[in-house]
């Protein structure tokens, strides 16, 4: 098996074997992240550009360490869509980065499809680090990697993704990733935050967390954006917490060995209570460590795969 791709734009179009290869490679890279000297010379002389149009300390740092531990030179470009003429930025930025001879561009952007556009504008490899509400493929890969450290297989597991599914790229990538790997996904949230026709993917839709929580082997809790309240997706944060916040009380009904995940950053006390985030079921810190290993695997495979699009 070879990952014959120039770009990683999403999980939707990845084959299961490609996902398995990335996960297998990530295991080898995880060993490197545990060494005293965390550096291999593999991508020496290559330039990786972190192009972030949305603030994200976690994802950007994770990609930066992954690239540096592979000995690539890393340039960080953080900008915001509001500071430049609307929309003009990406195309112009693409030309600038092209001139810098970047081998790989890691793109985080507020618009769905921005990485696809960028891949048509430059010859570099593109890694999607989150585009709009569309996809966040490395997050899904690291979530699956983390689950596989705790479970032999995802076959037959029931995963509940709880919260703002409508606006979540993490949810979309994980729905594709988890179902490809054999898990069953149930999305749980208020009807206003569940996108239409999502059952066709296929996933199951539930609105009541208390009635469904006992079924889940894994609970993936999404960050709730406070500004959604202003758009009337729900009446108040307070009410949201009452119905969907994961606390110890609610957790009592869950399976004894349920795993709790969260892509971060966490609103402690809102979508997840501090005692749950730091509790025995939580694998949230594993997710962070594994993120670097998975991203090293992705960078390595894209750099050596040189296949067509």
């Amino acid at each position: 098996m070879v990952l014959k791709r120039r770009h990683l734009l999403g999980i939707q179009d990845l084959k299961v074997e490609e996902m398995e290869l990335i996960l297998y490679q990530a295991k080898a890279f995880k060993e490197i992240t545990q060494r005293r000297i965390k550096k291999v010379p593999t991508l020496r002389g290559q330039t990786v550009v972190n192009l972030f149009y949305e603030p994200s300390t976690r994802t950007r740092t994770s990609f930066e360490l992954a690239a540096k531990w592979l000995s690539a030179d890393v340039v960080n470009i953080s900008t915001s869509t509001s500071s430049v003429v609307k929309g003009e930025s990406l195309r112009d930025m693409a030309k600038t980065i092209e001139a810098m001879q970047a081998d790989t561009i890691i793109l985080r952007h507020g618009q769905s499809g921005a990485p696809h556009l960028l891949s048509n504008l430059v010859s570099s490899s593109i890694v999607n680090a989150g585009d709009g509400s569309h996809e966040h493929p490395t997050q899904s890969l690291l979530d699956i990697f983390t689950l596989l450290e705790h479970r032999p297989t995802l076959n037959g597991l029931v995963v509940g993704i709880v919260g703002d599914i409508l606006h979540s790229r993490v949810a979309r990538s994980n729905i594709w990733g988890l179902t490809k790997m054999g898990a069953k996904v149930v999305v749980v949230g208020p009807p206003t935050l569940i996108p239409v026709e999502i059952e066709r993917i296929p996933v199951e839709v539930a609105y009541d967390l208390d009635k469904t929580i006992e079924r889940f082997d894994v609970l993936m809790i999404l960050r709730i954006q406070l500004e959604r309240q202003q758009s009337n997706f729900f009446p108040s944060i307070n009410e949201y917490v009452k119905f969907y916040g994961l606390n110890n009380e609610r957790l009592k009904r869950a399976k004894e060995d349920v795993l709790i995940m969260h892509p971060g950053p966490i609103n402690r006390g809102i979508e997840i209570a501090p005692e749950v985030a730091d509790g025995p079921h939580s694998v949230i810190t594993d997710q962070v460590t594994n993120g670097i290993a998975v991203r090293m695997a992705v960078l390595y495979l894209l750099a050596t795969g040189w296949g067509e699009g």
Partner: protein, 183 residues
Amino acid sequence: MKLFKKAEVIDEKDMARTISRLAHEIVEANKKVEELVIVGIRSRGVPLAKRIAQRISEIENREIPVGILDITLYRDDLTLIAPQPIVRETQIPFDIDEKTIILVDDVLYTGRTVRSALNALIDFGRPHAMHLAVLIDRGHRELPIRADYVGKSIPTSKHETIEVRLKETDGADEVLICELKER
């Protein structure tokens, strides 16, 4: 192109004797056996390393730590080779500081693999010394590298290949000289 077998240079009995001799030579040259660790280079260096370690522990009545090294990420031809090489896990679950490492591989040829392995091991710490043990030395070095313990030296031409087969990986213990030829 197809690979044709030309000759068998080591059979099962020879293999056992050779490994035993290598183990004895290593013990003789390294009096402080407690400082000895063995690291096999993937893939066939690994079962060889384990067999040598086993033999040494029989001789010395002492467990010898064995590590596994994958040198893919240190290769100097990474972006030139196809298909994409798969990185296997490196397992060196012990401290190598102030240890004497016996690096084990099946065939010593250009020396580039050994160069990669030396670079990789230095990232794990600062050993007292590193020695190289190989089953076959077939010549044609491209780097200033030599083996400290050699099972058998076999002069070859460049269009010949050495096929090392081990029970653990290939179901039999033998070493063959083969040649690439047009059908």
